[in-house]
Symmetry: C2
Subunit: 664 residues, 2 copies
């Protein structure tokens, strides 16, 4: 882009400001403070650095931009409109309205050019770590001399709140450790949060902390485009460390009566102050959503530049395809999100008794070689979660192609980074921890679901069956509380074969994250060894029908409780009670089956008992009685706990018998 | 304590080690590495600094000790046994066994002398911040010249994992900001985690980070008792900053073949290595749970010292009572956990339409003066959560009696610190954030329930009714997922009066934490204005019975959905369908009522519909049909969302009518 005169530059920045505050005012709801304060920062990134193609928002080699401070969404929407994305002034006018393309916080599933959903603070910058990691991995793996087919930056803007949140502390520590040099964030350092000055709660030396965590830092005036521009150049030159540029700004810049105060954080300016602000900024005070045509030209140059860059990259990729057809095909397939043909042909089956976590580890290692961009990891529980992909390296600055990520004891950052790896595209991610610690990363699990990312959460030690570690480590409420998250497929396989089948479902998914709830303890082999056509795909199925074929009682069980349910069935059949056992690895998948299939598996008016070593909450939908555990666990060997808490065939039979008798 | 000769000191430390590894070996499960490595640190704190009374574990002015690295539980159990708590060698032998007093991770509800449940990493040190804060608050508020009735330290031991977790980053940042000078933690800096060396994932400069966060730091050899002792003295002398003492240790110290490796972190040594270790440590290698009588004497001196300290404090308190009878009575009542008489006499009632969050704020401000040790706060949403206690000060170094805590945008630390304030005793705590961000502090909510702490979580903006902020901010699954946590009372009041009643229930609770799920939007006044005998205490009750008195249809509703449910009832009654509306603010309380009451409110065989602007999961227990929302929300004005997603009287009536007709 040719040099833009200073006055025009100012007009450009103020145009962003004007659109943003008009959007908030039209909605009578939203956050004007950040767009006013950070407009110059955003302008500098978007017009001087960001390589993107407004006509092709998903262009693979684009620089990524993450507005971690998602409440400043109008800033992003203004930029998207101005630079030529499919987002009209009318869309801006409909900010925060029903079915608009401009929701209150950015959503990647709604607005072209939005990379991820932000708003829950700390998630943006943490997820960006995953995006930058995926870029480095793919670059290291696929780029060849003179043919850098993956080569982009990950930019972002974050706020005080982002840097206070624990998840970002975790993610920043890991990003520094990993030395992600192409991650460049600008910090909207405005010293103001919703409740007042940051001196009320946040007086740490943020810069010193980031330096301690391995980041490169700089300080600039957040309204000085040249200084910001130069700082970004320096940040780019620092290739061994992620960069945080402290941009000293004024929240609500330009608002004569509200700038620099928390009043301007999260409420519209009001009609009067809006006018005063526009006047102050040299914008026509009586015009709404004003875009000066000269300013527009500056922004719109992104369209041509983007198309050129996109084309140049496509030419480069064509060259690459010619020179490295195998790698090109591999990368192309990975970007598509499709699984390679024959992925499951070599997958082991499990005729033996095996813990589902162990089966999971074997499955992973069987398919890892065929999925060259699958990145795994664990929050420091590799031997417990069985998540290690043997011999595939540990991700680090020195080994950027390493496919195992040591997340450290940082479950929340793990969740966010896993999402980022998927969001980048070209990679798939999974990560493990104990199921009870799913609580630590729950906001990231929710965002995966909201963002339609197929992240795979490997949550092992899925019940009191983990034994001696006791109630702090024993999930009780976790299965139901994760099932309650929309668009999350919680799968609890009953044996090794079903574990493999659930892995297949998880990897075949394109827009739904999966939880694999896996046992610590060994499970008998009970289900089909046809991994590719396994009935687990239906969510629930008849595992063992009544001997007579006409059940008068149904027992639904999941995971480790399927085996005692089968034994209970035998006891009941011996008493002449025709009993069916339904294995239900996934309520999510079962709910998406036809009503016909559902009532075939669970016939109406047949008394039904559920068995799961977790909260009974939620089971009343399917069952008239439940064997479960509605209190915290205890520390003792697993066998003792299962017996004491009623997960024996005898007790299951007893509960089922009682229900059956009540029903007769 | 008189000076202990070095050889005896070493024997004492090795006695801790021996007991700990014997416990793990007997259980064939547990973590020997930390007790072996950190025994000298623990010995130094417990014999040279910790003021405690083994015969009276709840002595109010004791120093608190938190083993944040709860997996090293045998270290703590060994200390408790050796210093004379009611924990026998037999108890140690039963480590991790059914119904023993020595569970896998420490639990305050089971073992005398254990202050809190630890194990989920980061919680201990973060909760300790709350404990230290409560001490400083009470000291500043109640101590008089020469009569320091509250005056103790909060000590702890933390691990790599504790310091990696985001929650501790948040809590440490806040502790530094608040300048909690009597918080002294020893960091078991052993460079090893479960998966290997900390260089795999944790290479930040931890010391520089803590210094940036406002901590005082020192470095010592973790086996050098004199150096540790001196460092603790220095830490005590630093009264304006919390202290972290980096103790360089060797995990599994003394184990000739496993020390310094991750192998010794979380698995028993094995019989052979156990013997070799004992031999190496100068312990009789064939004796289990060996306690040398001279060593025992050293530890047991805590009993006499504790009794003396306890008595001295009681004498001091008697003096205080004489000199300051009002303050003494106030503090005594606060320590008892009882609410003052007449607390609710001046509580406002709400005949007007009001948001439950606003009513909550008014209730709080009406009772705050009568509850002088109630500490509140918010994760930077005071104006949204309405949690500010007006004019009662902002907690800070300069104003240690301030009763409002600005937690910053740190929900997780807020939860842990709130728990710590309660655990300390003498104070009660509440804190607010948006309900959707309950996910951010969920591990602390769970721990409150597990630890039987009556923490009050004020979660406002409790549904899509928050409007424009959109799906990242709209809770869907949160009500059910919190209801699934054992021993957590989730209350969703229908109006202002019921909000006051729920506050009363929350504050009257002694062993159950509460969630107040409060609306952003205004709610009509619908329920009794008798706050003290409000039917909310039953969890659910008939708010409006069928006009005939004989319902043929029941509508259960909660919170903001009670009003449209009442309108739906009118529509149905007009059609001749006798309809009862049940208001169910708390499933938790309802479940504890008699079966008779339950079936009185919800008669069997009468078709029942539930209405709640959240996930329908869980409602099948009470209802044959549910009006709810099983997908993410959207960004639009609240009224639009409520209409689009079916929370109108018309739609409720439609769903109810359909169920009624199916049933006829």
């Amino acid at each position: 882009m040719s040099k833009v005169p200073k006055t025009l530059e100012t007009l450009c920045i103020n145009t962003i400001r004007g659109l943003s505050i008009d959007g908030v005012q039209a909605a009578n709801s939203g956050h004007p403070g950040l767009p006013l304060g950070a407009a110059a920062m955003a302008y500098t990134i978007w017009t001087k650095h960001l390589k993107h193609d407004p006509s092709d928002p998903k262009w693979f080699n684009r620089d990524r931009f993450i507005l971690s401070a998602g409440h400043g969404s109008m800033l992003l929407y203004s930029l998207l409109h101005l630079t030529g994305y499919d987002l009209t002034i009318e869309d801006l006018r409909n900010f925060r309205q029903w079915s608009s393309k401009t929701p209150g916080h950015p959503e990647n599933t709604i607005t072209p050019g939005v990379e991820m959903a932000t708003g829950p603070l700390g998630q943006g910058i943490s997820t960006a770590v995953g995006i930058a990691l995926a870029e480095r991995f793919l670059a290291a793996k696929y780029n060849k001399k003179d043919l850098s087919v993956v080569d982009h930056y990950t930019y972002g803007i974050c706020s005080d709140g982002d840097l206070m949140e624990g998840v970002s502390n975790e993610a920043c520590s890991l990003a520094g450790h990993l030395g992600l040099g192409k991650l460049i964030f600008l910090y909207d350092d405005n010293k103001i949060t919703i409740d007042g000055g940051t001196d009320r709660a946040f007086t740490e030396d943020v810069e010193a902390r980031l330096v301690a965590q391995g980041w490169h830092t700089q300080r600039v005036d957040g309204n000085d485009v040249d200084a910001i521009d130069a700082a970004i150049e320096v940040a780019k030159a620092e290739t061994a460390k992620p960069s945080l540029i402290f941009c000293r700004t004024t929240i609500g810049y330009g608002s004569p009566n509200k700038a620099g105060t928390s009043k301007v954080h999260g409420a519209p300016l009001g009609e009067e102050e809006l006018k005063l602000t526009k006047k102050n900024l040299g914008l026509p005070e009586n015009e709404s959503f004003y875009v000066n045509s000269e300013a527009e030209k500056v922004f719109r140059s992104a369209v041509k530049a983007g198309a050129d860059n996109n084309k140049a990259w496509n030419d480069l990729f064509a060259e690459y395809q010619k020179a490295y057809p195998e790698e090109a095909a591999e990368l192309t397939l990975a970007i598509s999100g499709e699984m390679p043909a024959g992925l499951w042909s070599g997958c082991p089956t499990f005729p033996e008794k095996i813990a589902s976590r162990s089966a999971s580890g074997k499955v992973l290692n069987a398919i890892a070689a065929k999925l060259p961009t699958l990145l795994g990891g664990t929050a420091d529980l590799a031997e417990s979660n069985m998540t290690d992909m043997h011999g595939l390296g540990l991700q680090s600055k020195d080994e950027p192609t390493g496919r195992n990520i040591a997340y450290g004891i940082r479950e929340h950052a793990m969740g966010a980074i896993m999402n980022g790896i998927n969001i980048h595209g070209g990679c798939r991610s999974f990560g493990g921890t104990f199921m009870v610690f799913s609580d630590y990363c729950r906001p990231a699990v929710r965002l995966a679901a909201l963002m339609h990312q197929p992240t795979v959460f490997v949550f092992t030690h899925d019940s009191i069956g983990l034994g001696e570690d006791g109630p702090t480590h024993q999930p009780i409420e976790h299965l139901v509380s994760m099932r309650a998250i929309p668009n999350l497929n919680v799968m609890r396989p009953a044996d090794g074969n079903e574990t493999a089948a659930c892995w297949k479902i998880a990897l075949d998914s394109k827009g739904t994250p999966s939880v694999l709830a896996l046992s610590r303890q060994a499970l008998a082999s009970l289900t089909s060894d046809d991994i590719e056509k396994h009935p687990a795909g239906k969510g629930a199925y008849i595992l063992s029908d009544a001997d007579s074929g006409a059940p008068r009682l149904v027992i639904i069980a999941t995971g480790s409780e399927v085996e005692p349910a089968l034994v209970a069935k035998k006891l009941l059949e011996q008493e002449g009670i025709a009993t069916r056992v339904v294995n239900m690895p996934s309520t999510f998948l079962f709910e998406s089956q036809s009503k016909g299939y559902q009532s075939h598996v669970l016939p109406r008016n047949v008394p039904t008992v559920s068995v799961e070593a977790g909260s009974t909450l939620g089971w009343a939908k399917y069952a008239g009685a439940s064997v479960g555990i509605d209190h915290f666990g205890a520390s003792a060997p697993a066998g003792t706990l299962m017996k004491e808490f009623g997960f024996t065939a005898e007790n299951i039979a007893k509960v089922a018998r009682r229900l059956f008798q009540e029903h007769e």
